[in-house]
């Protein structure tokens, strides 16, 4: 099996190099036959990486401890789910996963034929295969997953218990799909530059890819936060850790691209800028993989130090140079027929949105890399902690939420003052009311008060958009309100899907503000029967017990909880002592509700039955996860292919005359193999 896997990976590398040659030949000679050969080679790469992945999974599931990778990350009696999860538990496996996903997505990308994209296709294939060659080189020579041990191990080392959590199955997969998914838009952008075809074909084709990648990355980041929250036991879900930051940065630039892509579609502007954004996003995904998989910045994620770093930096460098060269060389092809006419216009709001997103990205990158750059420049390693990131990113983030409320109500080109007053009247009134209510309720600190008020404004602006849309439909068609709402969304999926995502962000931001500004924590030691009052809760320690499980001993405590004098349940935080790992793992206990989470960590105990606890009250955390699913729903609405309609296909570059044109661009054929998840 291992031999098969090794051969498959070697074959995939050969096929990928051959495919590049065929695609380039086909593109230069304008010869469709060579392009077809390249396409087949790419399918070959997809097939061979699938074989290699299947082989590795087989070895993991059958616990074949002749193989180093299997011995390093699994044990015989590990849960089947986690044996599979060990596929991406280490470097070699996760790089193989990367190239496997990439080749499947590439196959999907080159198999769908888009009208007008014929000239782009060979270059798209070339750039996808170049990325694949890089990762295939790594899994063939630098970090091979099928390496044999000098002698078979009797038992493996097992998977870190921290990773044995269902969230850890979802988070890496989603994050990877997100990272890898951005390779396709990048390949299209590069193809557009090479062919000089920077019109809307590449943008139209890649919009759905980008949105899909963006969705996966969003889910990956949020599932990662959930995992950290329930598994790491420090009471939070985000710590501005280098690895977290490295997944956030491409998300931010991808978000920026999703917005300015609309400007290019509607007004034919910012063509070059969009290419720049996609290039940055792609390079940041590679960089994120590098940060996660090398030891360049010390993080709570334990890193391996290896030759991987040099390879990654080399690849990023080469791709950056090629991209920048093409951008400069082809700069004449993306001149725009229009300029921005007014600061009070939707185009200008998109520009500001981009600048804020890039500002957050830049600050995050700066803070993340400071230990590395400061050492290079001064020889002293200096780093910054979460206070730095909060200081910079919280105000910029709130400005972004404010803009999110302002932008959708602005017309394209130029706004008239009296229209604006009319548009913003209700949202401003609602935000003022919200601020007053919050003040009365005791929210007096400036930062959270401003934050909640801004969130209320943005929410009201979007709700108003929905109401206006429904009203307009009702008047024209005489439909009932629910029918009108459903049809409004389904006839303008991109726009209202986007608005749903905006609302999701508002919901999440509300959760961020509540849980960061108003969390409380306490450390206590309690004897059996002793109560402890915190907030509206009284927690009574009942005692400590031990239970022997299959492969570990569980020590757990029981805490009776009452809220406002009513018993609401028993919390059971525990520590598990595993056989194969010296370290115990802590399992937190959470009693959650919409208003707040009561979050308890067991610290230690003694033989009298006394125990120490760390107790957190985290307000509004649930809203972060509610927002996550709303974001999923909104993105799916925006992704769902619209039925072909006669009314679609507004010519790009015709100034929108409506205050808010329906953003139903020409539809693309659904990408097979990608929809219907």
């Amino acid at each position: 099996m291992g031999t098969l896997g090794r051969l498959a990976l070697a074959g995939a590398l050969v096929a990928a190099v051959f495919g590049i040659a065929a695609f380039v030949l086909g593109a230069v000679r304008r010869d469709g036959r060579w392009v077809e050969v390249g396409r087949r080679a790419l399918y070959g790469v997809a097939l061979l990486t699938t074989v290699a992945s299947a082989a590795l999974l087989f070895l993991l599931v059958t616990s074949d401890f002749r193989y180093e990778y299997v011995a390093n990350y699994t044990t015989r009696d590990l849960d089947l789910l986690y044996k599979i999860g060990a596929f991406w538990g280490g470097n070699a496996g996760s790089l193989l996963l990367w190239v496997w996903v990439l080749s499947l997505l590439s196959a999907a990308a080159v198999s769908t034929r888009h009208p007008g994209a014929g000239r782009l296709q060979p270059w798209v294939g070339t750039f996808l295969l170049v990325t694949a060659v890089f990762f295939l080189t790594l899994v063939n020579f630098v970090s091979p997953p099928f390496r044999l041990l000098p002698e078979p191990a009797a038992e493996g080392r097992g998977l870190n218990p921290l990773l044995q959590n269902p969230g850890m199955m979802l988070h890496p997969i989603y994050t990877y799909l997100g990272y890898v998914g951005f390779s396709v838009p990048y390949a299209y952008a590069m193809a557009a530059l090479i062919t000089g075809d920077t019109g809307d074909v590449w943008l139209r084709v890649t919009r759905r890819w980008t949105l899909l990648a963006w969705l996966f990355l969003s889910m990956g980041i949020l599932y990662g936060g959930q995992w950290a929250y329930v598994e790491l036991g420090w009471g939070g879900y985000w710590a501005w850790d280098p690895v977290e930051n490295s997944s956030l940065m491409p998300w931010l630039t991808g978000t920026a691209f999703l917005h300015t892509a609309v400007v290019q579609e509607q007004r034919g502007m910012l063509k070059g800028w969009n290419v720049v954004l996609i290039v940055i996003t792609f390079l940041l995904t590679i960089f994120g993989t590098f940060l996660t998989r090398s030891g360049v910045v010390v993080s709570v994620h334990a890193f391996a130090n290896g030759p991987l770093g040099a390879f990654f930096l080399g690849f990023i460098g080469i791709m950056a140079v090629v991209s920048v060269y093409l951008l400069i060389d082809r700069s004449r092809v993306y001149a725009s027929p229009h300029g921005i006419e007014s600061l009070l216009s939707r185009e200008a709001s998109f520009l500001l949105n981009n600048l804020l997103l890039l500002g957050i990205t830049f600050a995050t990158l700066w803070g993340t890399l400071l230990p590395v750059t400061s050492e290079l420049v001064t020889g002293m390693k200096v780093g910054v902690g979460p206070p730095f990131f909060n200081q910079v990113n919280v105000p910029l983030g709130l400005a972004l939420v404010l803009l999110m409320g302002l932008g959708p109500l602005l017309p394209w080109r130029r706004a008239q003052m009296e229209n604006l007053a009319h548009s913003y009247l209700y949202p401003v009134a609602f935000a003022t009311l919200a601020a007053a209510v919050l003040l009365l309720a005791g929210v007096t600190r400036t930062a959270p008060l401003v934050g909640f008020t801004v969130a209320a404004f943005a929410a009201a602006a979007h709700v108003q958009e929905f109401i206006r849309g429904v009203q307009a439909r009702c008047q024209v068609t005489g439909e009932r309100i629910p029918v009108a709402l459903v049809r409004l969304i389904s006839r303008n999926r991109r726009r209202y899907g986007g608005y749903l995502v905006h609302l999701a962000i508002v919901v999440m931001v509300t959760g961020f503000i509540g849980s960061s500004a108003y969390s409380q924590e306490a450390t206590v030691t309690l004897r059996p029967g002793e109560p402890f009052a915190m907030g509206r809760y009284v927690l009574t320690h009942r005692g400590v017990w031990a239970a022997r499980e299959d492969d570990h001993v569980e020590v757990f405590a029981r805490l009776g909880v009452s809220k406002d004098g009513r018993d609401i349940g028993v919390l059971r935080p525990e520590k598990q002592l595993f056989r194969y790992n010296e370290q115990p793992t802590t399992e937190v206990a959470v009693l959650g509700g919409l208003a707040e989470d009561l979050y308890v960590v067991l610290g230690g105990w003694d033989d009298t039955g006394a125990a120490s606890y760390k107790i957190y009250i985290n307000p509004l955390v649930a809203w972060v996860w509610i927002g996550q699913y709303l974001l999923l729903a909104g993105t799916l609405v925006a992704l769902w292919p619209e039925p072909e309609r006669v009314t679609s296909g507004r010519r790009v570059g015709t100034p929108g005359t409506l205050p808010a044109p329906a953003e139903a661009g020409p539809t693309t054929a659904p990408v097979t193999g990608l929809t219907g998840r």
């Binding site: 009797a154 520009l351 700066w366 390693k381 910054v384 206070p387």
Partner: protein
Amino acid sequence: MRRARLRIGLALGVVVAATAYLMVTGLRQSTSYYMTVDELVRARTRYTGRSVRVMGKIVGETVEVKNLGTRLEFEVAGDSGARLPVVYEGIKPDNMNDGWEAIVEGRLSPDGRVVASKVMIKCPSRYEGEPAPPGYRPPGGTAEAAGKGTS
């Protein structure tokens, strides 16, 4: 057109300036020095009272857990064998094992101890594929004891 450009330029300039200002003030507030135990011990007086982030190996025999696991005292050692005492008020991390790398963030107090606000443990080779040492035996028992048969 020209006035619009100017206004937009101003608006963008404000965002850039605000970002720069926030970054500069943020850097002043939360900078800490990253170093190894050896580096810190060599320049102890220079860093007294400063925020530091120190990497070193946990000396297993010095780990003392007090107050039922809510106060932790231990020492980390550098490659030269120099040692640095650490005090941490908080829940003991799960994996305080001898010889594991710890990253300690906190202040260096005048008595030469680091009063930590955060203790992170790097697990060796558990997330990442460093080659296993030859003849590797899993921790927590011999291979025979570990061979439970497939279940």
